[in-house]
Symmetry: C2
């Protein structure tokens, strides 16, 4: 199931300064690294693979504790890591956390944050099996997730002609961020999208069992993540933004910024929905079955073609989308 790893072509990622750094690291590591650039590391295990991912959420970069509570920060960091397992079609078997606690932290904040980690892990059906603690200048939540996949789905298997689909709706997390950044209180649904994302574990497994050819989770924005899929699968992605499913909370925020709401949603990051390439024959009946089984929407937003890069169209016009760069 796991492709041969030697010779390793290095990480095939889309453009962006964060990804330039990952490419440089891969170059320095040479043959000492293996399989970098996917949502998870895949290690052969019996008939399938172990999937392992590690994610770090830093106070002031990924979250602020005047925006969300410590328990929400713990939930969010853990769900973001679990989302990488979802994107591989893996089921979680364990969660570890490495938490850095500022000296100024109030009594109880570490416990509240740990409670959020435990709640997110339990919701995904995985126990917390270990961790580490340190002091430091700011809160930092490192989350490592371990899962098993009988048919892991990387970013690399899409073929020209495949449809590109997303789960759920996009733009909710960005709607909350835009509100906080101008000093407002976000709508409850936007706040929930940012603070309490749901990793699409069941959806990822369903898709891996129903022919998904390539998959990743939406953390860098639709255009950025489509760029990763295009680079990894060595093809071009055409996005039809008119079709992008939009979170209701995004509408008013997009109007404030004078942006088409689909563009607002597609440029937002950290929705933790799945972007998946499915074969052309995947149709309406399959969508109904998916939505009945997984209780989340599945919407076709584009297609794969020969070539490279990402082309975006909205209302018949070509468009260049901003990415969402965590590495600011």
């Amino acid at each position: 199931m796991i492709r041969p790893v030697s010779p390793d072509p290095g990480p095939r990622l889309g453009p962006g300064p964060e990804f330039d750094r990952i490419r440089e690291i891969a170059r320095i590591l040479g043959p000492r690294a293996r399989g970098l650039g996917d949502d998870c590391a895949l290690l052969p295990d019996g008939d399938g693979a172990l999937a392992v991912s590690t994610d770090v959420s830093v106070e002031g970069v990924h979250f602020r504790l005047d925006w969300i509570t410590p328990a929400e920060a713990g939930w969010r960091a853990t769900s973001a890591a679990l989302s990488d397992l979802a994107a591989e079609g893996a089921g979680p078997i364990g969660v570890l956390s490495a938490i850095t606690v500022p000296q100024r932290a109030a009594d109880g904040d570490l416990l509240a944050l740990s409670e959020g980690i435990g709640a997110a892990a339990a919701a995904a059906g995985a126990p917390v099996v270990g961790g580490d603690l340190s002091t430091g200048a700011a809160w930092s939540i490192g989350v490592t997730v371990i899962g098993r996949a009988s048919r892991p789905v990387t970013r690399a298997g899409a073929r020209p002609g495949d449809g590109l689909w997303v789960t759920g709706v996009l733009g909710g997390a960005r709607a909350a961020l835009e509100a906080w950044r101008r000093g407002d209180t976000p709508r409850a649904d936007a706040r929930r999208a940012f603070a309490h994302p749901e990793p699409r574990i069941a959806a990822g497994r369903w898709l891996s069992e129903h022919g998904a050819r390539a998959m990743l989770d939406l953390s860098d924005g639709l255009a950025g993540d489509a760029g990763h899929l295009a680079a990894a699968s060595n093809l071009r992605v055409d996005l039809a933004l008119d079709a992008v499913p939009v979170a209701p909370a995004a509408i008013a925020e997009a109007e404030r910024l004078d942006l088409p709401v689909q563009q607002f949603a597609a440029e937002g990051g950290e929705d933790y929905e799945l972007l998946v390439a499915l074969p052309p024959e995947f149709g309406a009946a399959d969508v109904l079955e998916f939505e009945r089984d997984c209780r989340v929407a599945l919407t076709r937003v584009g297609s794969a073609a020969r070539g490279s890069g990402v082309r975006v169209k909205l209302a018949g016009r070509s468009l260049t989308l901003r990415g969402y760069d965590h590495f600011r």
Copy 2:
């Protein structure tokens, strides 16, 4: 091989504020956590176990970049995590790093640090299989290691009458720290002990295959780590400090502090040697075989008895040792 996990008694750790926090977290997590408090999380895998550990090294807490180079910081953080696999008798199969890079970082520092991570992983025979990047106020290196153990050795299996043994020599890392803290340059061997620890992977596997009953790595100081073993194995540990093998660099530093050198060595942390409980019949011929196979010393420093806690004797007198608390 893996003990039943339900009901989980919670982490059985020795005394200390860092360990109080881990106990509190385990209490909050309740049944959502499993098997906390050992060097690694153990997940059933075929006939053996997967061993997974995550460790975070924070600039200004665990290391300073005016003391060691970025490449050394990467080596040290990775070897410290690999040492947890050694302590379980596991062989490493993959390393992941989650690196937080300060905005002020010089070009090249991230690559040098990654080079150190790759070198430590390669020295242990494991590829770097993934990671994450963020910005933040200070350097932070989260390292996750994955290994396999056919006969994992936890901290919990020691029995009254067992001998307590350590690999290598102790006090070298502390000798470097003491020199740096007073503004001096450490001796080369002390610096190497701190900046370039060698995880005892081969020794850990050898010991697990030759009857080791309980094992952990020395990161909290001999007394602190013996306290963890005593708590996990539900017995008392008697340490005979006169026998403690001392790093040559520790001698002059101990004299400066007017401490017996064995006490200086036993109170130092982060030597990343192994502390292992072996059955009473483990004898001189076994030691010779170990030292021939693993190219490192093995020294008996105490024994296990009925009771609880740690008793320390030096030159016939009882002694209370300071621990080494990372969570300062």
